[in-house]
Structure formats: structure tokens, C-alpha cells
């Protein structure tokens, strides 16, 4: 059973509808469960998945081993911010972003409905992920991208050889139109952001986080709202199951150059409004009209969450700080660390708190051929010994 998170209207999970007629996201009902021992997160937490997924052996579907990513304690950054900081490294997923966790559950749903083709509306991480998993599961795949997409982005999708449709027109509308077209007809199943079955996959992030740490705060880079919703649904189900005493404080962070959720939150609004001109280096989280935005606002309200934005300068500095711990991430993935300075200074996060943030995707996805040349020196091989002796 699927239910609209806003108006409560119910829909069958045997249909391909993923968005309510009122425009708000659908969600699988809450599923409390028990944790089993052994195996991957998908097996240990099998009880928490909807019936239609429990009936599917995830291994039988030949997944690419998504999830089960490292939780890394970072001592130097912990010291800088006077907190116990953990990074959840999602850059080591099969297509190098957290999207894979939701793609696999979404495609299992598609497969159960008999979909022959998998589609998505995305220019980045989700597009690569859907194309990869479509290949793995033997589906045809189609990716709808805006006309002005860069070759650099297109290459990362084209590597998996999906059909790519460059669509002229409003890209935000395309998200809704593709879902409406396929709502009653599962032939082409669109696995877009905020799909209820993506949320089921993203829950595994909450499960792993709680197994490996005891955070007071979970900081989540927020774009369409899907990741935020998935982590929250997982935490809520753990609470309802008696496994978690208290849900950690959720923190939603956006890039200042496209922060419609933060603007609505700070203005005390219940609904987000379209961000007119997105402009940020953190392109992977620059959704001007996030379809899960209103739901993020509701969840922040229900759980006394925090919501803040960071500048591109802060993002780039945080990206370097994260690399100084050995993880090269996308700019979008650095917003959690970027937000820490202000959150500590204004007292939102107290000294000594345990904090985890999700490092959503690999820095290799945003190579630009640019870097700081100050650390590049030139020498001749004949000078090597001299250099060595000076340095030693």
C-alpha cells in the first residue's frame, strides 16, 4: 500500500503510480521489524522491506552489491569542530553515489510490474545509476536529459549505452510528465527522484548509520528530498520497532545558490517555491523545485530538525577538508561538513555531539581540469638527490 505523504490518499503498490494526483510524493507505509544477524544490510533488515520486496531474493536479481559502505571516523575534522564526526562514504557504491541503494529497490518494483523499459529524468548520479542497473537487470533503459547538458555529464551516462533523449522544454515539468505518462501503464517505468521505492532503498543508509554509530545529528545534503526522506523513514521505522530510543536531529543542508527548502523553512512557509536561477558548483543538489521539498519541511517540523545553506566558497573549502581525510567527494557531498562551522558557532550543534554526514558521491564525477597549482613544483631528475636531502 502506498500513501500520499500530504493528503493521505491511498494507492495500490501493484500499479506504477509513484506520485499523488495532488502532486506530493507517495510513500510505502511504515514497516517496523526485527534485525536478523549476518549477511548484508539487505538481509539483516529484510523485515523492514515491503512484502513485494521480501518475496524477491535480492541476490537473485544480480545486484551489483550496493550499500554496505564504510562509516569513517575523522579525527582531524572532529577536532576542528569539537564534535565526534563520522563520514558515511557513499562514493564506493557501484556507480559511485548513494543513488544505487534506491535504484535497486525501484527496479525490483519495476520488474514485478513487468516493465520492459526503465526510464529516468536526471542529468547526473541517478542517470548513471539507472542505466547501470537497467543493464544489470536486462532492461532497456532511457534517460531524459535537458537540451543544454554538457558533454562531460553526458559521457558518464552514455558509458552504459542507454537511449538518451535530449528534451527541449521545461525540465522540471518533464519530471511530472514522465511520471503521469507511466502512472497507469508499467511498460516504461520511470525511476525518478522521490519514487516511493527509492525511499525504501535509501532506508538502508539509516540502518547502517545506526549500526555503526550513535549520532545526535544526521546531516543530509538535500536536493529533491529523496535522500532526506529515505534516511528519515528508516530512522522512524527503527524507533517504531523499539531499536532506536531517540531519532537523531535531522539537518537538511542546501547550496546557497539553489536553496528553495531553506528559504521556505526560514520564512516559516509550509510550501517551497521554485528557485528562479540556480547557480552553484554543487550541481548535483541544485534542484530548483524539489518534488520532496514540502515533505522535507514537514519532517523537519515533526522532528525539530535544522535546515541551513552554505556558500560555494564554504563548499569548496569543505571538499578539501574531506580530501584531507582521504575521501575525494563531489562538491554537493561536502555541504554537510561545510555547514558545521556555523552550526557549532550558533549553538545549534553542541560541543562533543556525535555527528554523521553523508558523502553522497565521488569527486571523479565533477572533474573540471582545474586545480590549485601552488603545490606543483618543477625539477630536473639530476636535482632529485639534492631535493631529497633537503626534504629529509
Amino acid at each position: 500500500m502506498l500513501r500520499c505523504v500530504a493528503c493521505g490518499k491511498e494507492y495500490s503498490s501493484k500499479k506504477s503510480r509513484q506520485i499523488c494526483r495532488c502532486g506530493e510524493p507517495l510513500e510505502v507505509e511504515h514497516i517496523p521489524g526485527k534485525i536478523a544477524s549476518g549477511g548484508t544490510v539487505w538481509k539483516r533488515f529484510r523485515d523492514f522491506f515491503p512484502q513485494e520486496m521480501k518475496e524477491t531474493d535480492l541476490r537473485d536479481l544480480h545486484t551489483l552489491s550496493e550499500g554496505e559502505t564504510p562509516t569513517i571516523k575523522v579525527d582531524e575534522l572532529s577536532e576542528i569542530y569539537d564534535v565526534d564526526l563520522y563520514l558515511k562514504n557513499e562514493t564506493v557504491n557501484p556507480t559511485w553515489s548513494f543513488k544505487d541503494r534506491g535504484t535497486v529497490t525501484s527496479l525490483i518494483h519495476a520488474s514485478r510490474l513487468g516493465a520492459k523499459t526503465i526510464g529516468t529524468v536526471s542529468t547526473g548520479n541517478m542517470a548513471s545509476s539507472v542505466a547501470a542497473y537497467g543493464n544489470r537487470l536486462g532492461s532497456k533503459t532511457v534517460v531524459l536529459v535537458p537540451e543544454d547538458i554538457s558533454d562531460r555529464k553526458l559521457e558518464q551516462i552514455a558509458a552504459y549505452d542507454p537511449l538518451i533523449l535530449k528534451v527541449a522544454g521545461d525540465y522540471g515539468d518533464l519530471f511530472y510528465e514522465s511520471l503521469e505518462l507511466s502512472a497507469d501503464d508499467p511498460e516504461i517505468y520511470f525511476s525518478n527522484s522521490n519514487s516511493p521505492y527509492r525511499i525504501e532503498g535509501y532506508k538502508t543508509l539509516a540502518f547502517e548509520i545506526i549500526e555503526e554509530s550513535s549520532p545526535d545529528f544526521v546531516i543530509i545534503p538535500t536536493s529533491s528530498g529523496g535522500l532526506f526522506r529515505g534516511v528519515m523513514k528508516g530512522l522512524i521505522e527503527l524507533k517504531k520497532s523499539g531499536i532506536l530510543d531517540k531519532i537523531p536531529t535531522p539537518v537538511s543542508v542546501q547550496a546557497a545558490g539553489c536553496s528553495p527548502i531553506v528559504r521556505a523553512y526560514q520564512g516559516g512557509k509550509k510550501k517551497i517555491e521554485r528557485w528562479s536561477e540556480p547557480g552553484t558548483e554543487a550541481g548535483a543538489i541544485a534542484n530548483p523545485l524539489p518534488p520532496g521539498g514540502n515533505e522535507v519541511l514537514r519532517k523537519l517540523d515533526e522532528h525539530d530538525g535544522l535546515c541551513t545553506k552554505v556558500s560555494d566558497e564554504e563548499i569548496m573549502d569543505a571538499q578539501n577538508k574531506i580530501a584531507s581525510e582521504g575521501i575525494f567527494c563531489q562538491p554537493a557531498s561536502a555541504v554537510g561538513v561545510a555547514a558545521l562551522k556555523d552550526l557549532r558557532e550558533n549553538g545549534s550543534i553542541e560541543k562533543g555531539s556525535e555527528v554523521i554526514t553523508i558523502i553522497t558521491g565521488s569527486g571523479l564525477k565533477n572533474l573540471r581540469g582545474k586545480f590549485d597549482r601552488q603545490r606543483v613544483k618543477h625539477i630536473d631528475i639530476s636535482e632529485l638527490k639534492e631535493w631529497y636531502e633537503e626534504e629529509s
Copy 2:
């Protein structure tokens, strides 16, 4: 104790010398052991590591969770080649290549010797890996690169902010000179390819392969020879421990455009000679004078191995085939699959054999802004419904 793989001369593991005075690689003595249950591959196979590493708690050194990568059975490719084919997906390591397994063991050795700075001679995967782990372990790092390195490659190293030295002169000589400079002085420890302590880390690949499959053939992309040596040392130690009945047939594959090991092998030579003009898209395995090359020849001889080369056209075709199973890899990583057609046709690998090949690094490392545009179509959003109905 370290021993030269060619002349047998012994060296202390308490010194930083990693290459014999005769120019051939050193190796840690064979260590038979027992497998423990539970934990990561590093814990399960702890018995197989040299004493100086057993004394180090790998978790204490804050590794980034290298290794423990998925072994993926690929049904469509298995059918094409009439074998049971497995891909060992090393693209999901912390810096997205297999190098991380050897970097961590190498840096543990460096740390025990009291090295303050970690160096490497590399333009690619190893450079990123050493810079990342140097950061993680709190060491200063320096990467020696050739003068003509591209910005695209440099950016992936610079992301971790090491000191980068562009060295004018013969890059092959630099490998040996850097090791000689640091052989008796551990202040700056060079973690170059073929380091004996890298080999100890690469052994974990053999351990995981044997836990998850029962291959008749292990196909290994070969450049400097380090990966090949590591996998073989692991397999030999498993055999000596009574865990493995028979060592799978090793297959060394090089890109035709730089294949000094294949040339020596096919010519019945015991020693490789420098490849004069390397030219291949598989840049990550284009070492013109591989320091472990002679040792690869010896191991192929001892274990009735196979050694072959593939063209760039075959490599690119194999890269697409691997992506069709959901894994986007470097061109260099595709040589194993590329070699299958010939190996099957000439009878070297029999029908129905179990075969595993190592997918060494992520395709994101070699983005070129180029791709096949045949699969890119243009439509207007107003035509979406019509397109959908035609496709359904």
C-alpha cells in the same frame, strides 16, 4: 625478512630497501596460515601477513575500508564466451582502484619505519591512492610525475593536495632513483609499484577470489607486474596452507600498444626489454619497462600460465561489454574480457571453464568528453506523449 625474487639475496624488513641491488623486486617470505572467521578480509587472513603487520591493528591505522569488493557473476558475458565468468569489481575501493589494497600495507610499513613523508612515482591510480592514504594516516605526501602529464590526470592527484613534483628526465629511471635514494633512509618512504609491501596487500585479492569462486583461470591486467605478483603470492600461500588444492592458471594480459612482457614471453626470453613507443588507450597499464616483468615471466613459467595481448579496438569493445553488465571501468581494466575471445578460440581456455578477471579501476578516471552519439535523440517536451506511446 625480504628476499630478492631473482638472486635470492636477503634484506631486513626493518630497513626501507624495497628493491634488490640486482634491480629485481624484493618479496616477503611465503607465509602459510589459517583462515579465521568473521570480520573483513584483513582480519580473516591476518595469519597470512608478515609479523610486523600482524602487530598493527589495521583499524587503528584508520584505513578507508579498502578491499572486500564484490565478485559479480556475469551471465550475458558468460554466455557469449561459453564460460562461467566472474568480474572482481575493484572500482569500488576508496580511491576507485585496486591500488588501495597495497597502499595501506605499504604505508603501514612506512609508518613502522618512522617515515615522515610518503612518496610515489605514478601518474594515475597509485598516485591518487598514496595521496589519499597519506592524508588519512597524517603523513606528508609527494608525488613525482613526468613533465608532460595532462591536467586531467593531475587534477585527480591534486584533489588530495600532495606536493607534486614535475620531473624532467627519464620517468623509468625516476622509479629506480627514488627507491635508491630512500633505500637506507626511511625519512621519505617511496611506495612505488612492485614494493614488497604492496604485494602483501594485493594478496587479499587472491584471498577474496578463492572465498567467492573456484576459478580455473585468473586473468590479470598486467603493467608493472605488481598486481600479478600479489595475486600469485596469495594463491601460492593458500596452496602451501592446504586451503587450495590447485592454483588456477594465471593469465597475464597487456595492451598490444605496450606489451613488453608478452613480447618476451612469446619470444621465449627470460628478460623483458623496454617497449620503445607506448601507444594505447589503456594508459593505466602502459609501463614500457615493468620492474616486475621478469618475475611475471618466471611465475608464468612455474605455473603454466598464459600471456597475451589485445588491441585497443578489442579493449574498447570489452569496456562496453563490461558496462552492459553494469560496471563502467577504465580501458586498462577491460583487457581481461578483451582477451577471452582469442583464448577461447585457440583452445587455451576450454568451454565451461570458470574464469575470473580483475576490473582494476573506475571508468570515471578516464573521461574524455567523447562518446557514441548514435544513441542520443532530440525531442520536444510536447512530443513526449507520442514518443511514450510508440515505445510502449
